[in-house]
Amino acid sequence: MTAGTEPARLAVAGRPSLWSRIYGLGSVYGKTIRDSRRAFALATGLIVLLFVTGGAAIAGAFGTVATRAQAASLAEILPPIFQGLLGRPVGLSTLGGFIEWRYVVLFFILIPIWSILALSSTIAGEAARGSLELIATSGVARRRIALEKLAAHLTAVGLAMVIFAIAIWVTGQAFATLPGDEIAPEAAVGYAALTAIMILLPGAIAFAAAPFVGRGAAAGLAALVMLASYFVNGFRDSIPVFDALAPLSYFSWTFDHVPLAGLYDWGSLVLPTALVVAFLVVGVLGFERRDMASTIHVPSPHLPRFLVGLRDPLGRSFGERIPAALAWGLGLSLYVLLLASGASAMSELFERLPTIEAMLRAVYPNADLESVGGMLQIVFVEFGLVVFGFTAATIVGGWASDESSGRLEVILSNPMTRMAWLIRSGLGVYLAILLSAAVVAVATAIGTASQGSDVATPTLGSFVLALYGIALAGIGIAAAGLVRASIAAPVVIVVTVGTFLITLFAVPLKLPEWFADLALTSHYGSPLLGDWDLVGVVASIVLGVGGLLVGAWGLSRRDVRV
């Protein structure tokens, strides 16, 4: 009996503590929670920051009955193509309604990226690395592994939404300037619940697809579904085919649930919730029943030989980044084409509403509200610059993987100095950003030409995206050279988001002018109208060239790291 009881005693003695099973290395759940703590903090911090600063900004800028009414009337008469970019215009006389209308993209498009990335990689990423095989052969059933990993993400999202609900309620209490601005606890909970579903639905799609197609394709599929749903629902009034497809968009299912505006339709949450559950079940079963890390091959086209870049690091760096550059460029191009197609309607609206035109002229003194370029300058450039920040982050991140993956070690064992490698490969990054901007420029040309407007000026002006992207990439390359490659993309993302937040909130929050001037995007003038601000142009070139030089100097002085 001794032999039989001893292992049992040892097993009990070695059992992990309850805390380590909840947060730590005591269980798959605990480890997943521990691994996702930074993403949780980032996503929760971002969503709370956006809501609170957004609330403060709106309270500051539209703090009177008159200004609130003016904004509400503008929202209602905006052409459908522009209404599609915003939320449902109800309850705009209240702070909550205004926030929900204005920031729908941020909460329902930006934050779900967290869930897409987490749920596409929680199992598939680990399977691709090979570590999942060790877990799956350590006596834990596959279903349990999947469920614990899933439970960890659901816990993180749940906790984030509790914090978000509290932040919503606090924002209503803190920034209420007009009657009805206070946000009721029920409204806060209702909006947090809606946000949770909007975060989890694309994530669940990624989770379901990952065992079948792998991490990258699953994330891409989920992002595609999310964006397609958003655009189909948002532009249903502008594009007839979208109107027919709109019932398929999950954004349309919760149309009547606008809790911050006082509209509740709890029943509308049932269908998307059921879909979330169904996709998660598919993901768990897919992982349990399929061969581990065996995915369906998704064919991808080969680049023509002359574009692959086998001659030197410049060509190689560029060739390696072409797919990402084209993907970002094409995505943004569709958006430009959509906006361009609605520009004429917008011009007509302003002709009918001189008050609105005067208001816009106060913000954009040189705006040409009759041309497509002028319209794009107002409604596209700011968004396009943010997107290009992420484009630059993606491209710089790929470039940085040369060092973090160990490729650079092989490359540098060839007769080439570190400086030469960094400058040439960095130029390849800039070329990729230029390519992405060129694709947008083509779309701008097509969009403006289709409306019979001036083509050359806005097309040339759209290269402001390249300037900004190169400036950001230069910052990322400099950081990578000075410190280490893995920080390049995060630095670019931080600068992009920071710049966006400054432009978004500096004026409404009455921040000092010098602080607002920190945003590079505020120094480009109106390039789509041919009005270039040399300060921004020069600053971008300096950051681009300087980034290469500083990065090259930094890399030449430090150890190459893997």
Partner: protein
């Protein structure tokens, strides 16, 4: 012969973590030099310092007489290198990957490149990400060898290779030596190192603990001796002999480990009637393990 690689008190520390400490070694032109040590001993750190991928904390490393951090490009022009762990371009095929690195060297002998591809049985049309670990390693080897460098620096070059390819690889290294080229390699395939290398260095916890020819390393070590008696085994007598340890008696067989001269054991054995007397020099693997206090059990000795 000139020293192709020379280090003087080469030291690298990573903050509070040890890298290598006061490593002194010389690799002569035309020799195959084995660099042995367990994981984390400092082999890769030494190699990466020699290639100027990392910079020494103190001391100096020279390759072809050039201080590695002074003119790394001049060194890289004359070497071929494969790291212990690496990844290359997932989207490129194996052939494109090899071509790219050939281009970085301003071209290579295409016939020799093709011969290497055939010899390693590489499918150049498959994408790098689709290749197995061993096949990726083969691509790395072609990249290191295709320009016929004067010096090969190979960190675990046989990792992931099947025994047949390992054999092909060591043949290539021996061919390089026959052409007067130099090889500096770290490996865990000690039987091959023993057969192939002229000299071997053993590094332990960042410090060089042995550097000698393979034969020299063996001479310094021990012998495994097995005596088969016709009668009872006189264990105590042999245990008392100088240099004798790990004495194990089993039936009429006595096994022991003898450090230093074997003469006392021969003299003592001569006083008894023996059926058999086996003395074997240790393999490099046994020498290596002895350095780390993992000597094989004396009972494992075989004739």
């Amino acid at each position: 012969m000139a020293a192709v690689i020379q280090t003087e008190k080469l030291t690298k520390s990573y903050g509070v973590h040890r890298g290598i400490v006061d490593v002194d070694l010389e690799v002569q032109e035309g020799e195959i030099f084995g660099f042995l040590g367990p994981n984390g001993a400092g082999k890769t750190t030494t190699i990466r310092t020699l290639l100027d991928l990392i910079r020494p904390t103190s001391g100096v490393g020279r390759v072809f007489g050039i201080v590695s951090s002074d003119d790394p490009v001049a060194i890289h022009r004359r070497i071929g290198y494969i790291p212990g762990e690496f990844t290359l371009y997932d989207r490129l095929t194996g052939g494109q990957t090899i071509e790219y690195f050939a281009n970085l060297r301003r071209g290579v002998d295409k016939a020799y490149q093709r011969a290497l591809i055939e010899r390693f049985d590489i499918d150049p049309k498959r994408r790098f990400k689709e290749l197995s670990k061993g096949n990726k390693q083969k691509i790395g080897l072609v990249i290191a060898l295709q320009h016929q460098p004067e010096l090969l620096i190979l960190d675990e070059p046989t990792s992931g290779l099947d025994p047949l390819v390992q054999q092909s690889f060591f043949e290539l290294v021996r061919e390089a030596k026959a052409e007067g080229r130099t090889t500096f390699l770290s490996s865990h395939i000690l039987s091959e190192v023993e057969k192939t290398c002229d000299r071997v260095a053993i590094i332990r916890e960042g410090r060089l603990v042995k550097l000698d020819s393979v034969e020299g390393l063996r001479d310094l070590a021990h012998h495994q001796v097995e005596l088969r008696f016709t009668g009872p085994v006189p264990t105590a007598e042999f245990e008392a002999l100088p240099g004798v340890s790990e004495v194990v008696a089993m039936d009429h067989v006595l096994r022991m480990r003898v450090n230093g001269p074997i003469t006392p054991v021969v003299r003592a054995a001569a006083r008894y009637e023996l059926l058999d007397f086996v003395s074997r020099e240790p393999t490099l693997e046994e020498t290596f393990l002895a350095q780390y206090g993992h000597s094989p059990d004396a009972s494992e000795v075989t004739a």
